[in-house]
């Protein structure tokens, strides 16, 4: 019951935020100087055609009305037409979104497993060389901008060592797997096309690692510091004193208490991941929505820009809700306090 209340409340909050976001996006898009209709049709189109389009696009009506039309269309799934690809933006998104989702989720997996794993390893071997090495590594990971990391990885593992391919999702000549989820790795596995799956995976690794590096380092640092702080807490000593075996004390009992900040941070880290995807998709020529969006921004493709920001905003909000649920699941203090404040 508490869960339902929490979800409803967040749901309303999110809708409100999305509404505000849509206004923000609309304002940004309309700031663009120049005539959108003219830009859509090109310099050589006759003026009366442009005027007709202006009428259709409601460009001469008050801004509030324009917003209304835009919102109405968007809610029906019509996000306009891309100036660059000349297709429905909705179609573009359907094509490119799965690629980005695959990349981001894989990066998220690496972040979670790698970040927490390294953090635990570091805390367990506190102040020994393993710990110091991991600490330096994660510090550098936090400090290095994602595009620098991406280029370095591409350079080292892609070009110099030639261990991994550096462009796109599949090598030349490899057929796309039948679309079920849009994730090449999963789809090809489900269809039994193992060679394709392996090829897709190889293409996925470098960009995913480049994307995950910053967040992974952040998570490792936080996990390590929380765990080593908690190691000296009384409840750990009490557990030992009462005869609970060491593996349980430093395993289950320490871990659950220490993971809370790590999970809380995941929301912010995810935001960074979504942002960094723009750079990583650019550098690795990954046909995802971020690259599409970046292109749109550089070519001032208003409809596409708006749509991409909207989609990313929705994704981010959803992930934040999930993170809050996760933290609530781990930490009873937050769950119970939240219920009490209702």
């Amino acid at each position: 019951m508490r869960l339902l209340g929490f979800l409803t409340r967040r749901g309303f909050q999110s809708i409100f935020v999305l509404f505000g976001l849509s206004i923000l996006i609309f304002v940004i898009a309309r700031v663009l100087p120049g005539d959108p209709a003219r830009a859509a049709l090109g310099a050589r189109a006759p003026q009366w055609v442009v005027d007709r389009l202006r009428e259709d696009m409601h460009l001469d009506e008050p801004l509030v009305a324009q917003y209304g039309y835009w919102l109405g269309d968007a809610l029906q799934g019509d996000l306009g037409i891309s100036l660059v690809t000349r297709r429905d933006v909705t179609d573009d998104i359907r094509d490119f979104l799965p690629a980005s989702l695959e990349l981001v989720m894989f990066a998220g997996l690496i972040t979670a497993v790698g970040g927490i794993g390294l953090g635990i390893l570091s805390a367990r071997n506190k102040d020994k060389w393993v710990d110091n090495f991991i600490r330096i590594f994660s510090y550098m990971g936090v400090v290095t901008p994602s595009f620098v990391a991406a280029i370095l990885l591409l350079l080292l593992f892609g070009l110099v060592l030639d261990w991994f391919p550096t462009i796109g999702r599949l090598s030349e000549g490899v057929p796309r797997p039948t679309t079920i989820t849009g994730f090449y790795t999963i789809d090809s596995l489900l269809a039994g096309q193992f060679a394709t799956a392996w090829d897709a995976l190889k293409h996925l690794i470098l960009p995913a690692v480049a994307l995950a590096l910053g967040s992974l380092s952040q998570e490792a640092r936080i996990t390590r510091s929380t765990m080593s702080d908690n190691l000296s807490k009384d409840y750990i000593a009490a557990g030992r004193a009462l005869g609970v075996p060491e593996r349980l004390v430093t395993g289950r009992f320490l871990l659950k208490a220490s993971l809370i900040p790590t999970v809380s941070i995941f929301g912010l880290d995810f935001a960074a991941t979504l942002s960094n995807a723009f750079l990583v998709e650019l550098i690795f020529v990954w046909p995802g929505i971020s690259r599409y969006g970046l292109n749109a921004m550089l070519r001032k493709d208003v409809n596409a820009i708006s749509a991409v920001i909207l989609i990313l905003g929705i994704t981010f909000i959803l992930v934040n809700i999930l993170v809050d649920l996760g933290v609530g699941a781990l930490d009873p203090r937050i769950r119970l306090r939240a219920a009490r404040s209702d």
């Binding site: 000593a237 557990g239 004193a241 009462l242 208490a257 009873p332 119970l336």
Partner: protein
């Protein structure tokens, strides 16, 4: 003489810190016989908790160093024991109630989730019991400490309990393992006086019932007087005096003990209570000789140079003070 249950001999404990080594325990001797209730009195910072943590080997070993000394429990050497053996001794053999019950409970697990492994690993037979059986045992333990509705309690989190309840839970947990020796570190000090009284009374009953040997740590002399058979007085990492309780209160020998007794305000006559001037010494660079000499009203020349050994005064009563050196002039 029967072998002591717990025997600490000449224990030194140091902590590595930024400026050097903190000499926290400076040759501690401590003994508990089976069935005894031993009190340990001393001001905050004198090393009481450190000694107890050393027994259970739960001192954080990187900063903590044990360069010298021996700790025997039922004849077994605790200092050189392997981790697996130690787990057996902890719980079933020696159990501990911590000073702050709120800090001693893991905030993200229910009471039941924390009690389960404590009971399960307290004896080899318990390991094979089912979850339900262990839960029944847990309920029994919680009933023993007079907690209402133990079934619901097991599914609650520490934050949902009051301070007094948490203290009882900690006592229940410590006793659930049926220890032979119970270490109670200032039970109830973090609670208000009336609840503290209840807690101490409860503790006394349970200990009587189960015939557990007890080490009771406190800085309240009144509690010691009522509850213990024998008392150790500790100051700055040394045991300065030990005697059967009645004898200690009737005839405190060490100047520090005398100062302590005088510092307790009395309701009947006596005027204003006197404090002991001065402060506890620095552990990083402790003064040579007797650690109390800087505050001692009866300090002699030798006290500044040499550390006093224990001098026996009529059987059972020992003092670490040169005033009682019968060979001196």
């Amino acid at each position: 003489m029967a072998k002591p249950l717990l025997d600490i001999r000449d224990l030194y404990v140091q902590f590595k810190v930024y400026g050097g080594l903190l000499q926290v325990l400076d040759g501690v001797n401590f003994r508990v016989d089976t069935g005894e209730k031993v009190g340990l009195v001393g001001e905050t910072g004198c090393g009481k908790t450190t000694t107890m943590k050393a027994i259970l080997r739960i001192l954080p070993e990187p900063p903590a160093v044990i360069p010298r000394g021996e700790i025997f429990f039922k004849g077994r050497d605790l200092l050189n024991m392997k981790s697996a053996e130690l787990s057996e001794v902890r719980g079933g053999g020696i159990s501990m109630i911590f000073q702050d019950p709120t800090a001693a409970l893991n905030p993200v697990f229910t009471i039941g989730q924390q009690l389960d492994p404590v009971i399960r690993y307290s004896s080899p037979q318990n390991r094979r019991l089912s979850k339900r059986k262990i839960r029944e045992e847990a309920i029994v333990s919680l009933r023993e400490v007079a907690l209402a509705d133990p079934d619901r309690l097991l599914d609650s989190y520490p934050l949902q309990l009051s301070g007094g309840m948490r203290q009882r839970v900690c006592i229940g947990m410590a006793l659930a393992t049926n220890p032979e020796l119970l270490i109670a570190d200032e039970p109830g000090t973090s609670l208000d006086v009336t609840i503290q009284d209840q807690v101490l009374r409860l503790l006394r009953e349970l200990v009587e019932e189960k015939q557990t040997s007890v080490i009771l740590i406190t800085h309240t002399l009144g509690v010691v007087r009522e509850t213990t058979d024998r008392v150790y007085v500790m100051y700055a990492g040394n045991m300065v005096e030990v005697a059967p309780t009645r004898k200690l209160f009737a005839n405190p020998l060490h100047p520090y003990t005398q100062g302590l007794m005088q510092a307790v305000p009395k309701l009947t006559g006596g005027g204003i209570a006197h404090g002991i001037p001065g402060r506890i010494p620095e552990y990083l660079d402790p003064p040579p000789g007797c650690r109390f000499h800087t505050r001692c009203p009866q300090v002699m020349d030798i006290c500044r140079r040499e550390k006093p050994p224990h001098f026996g005064v009529d059987g059972g009563h020992q003092v670490a003070c040169f005033l009682y050196d019968k060979d001196a002039g």
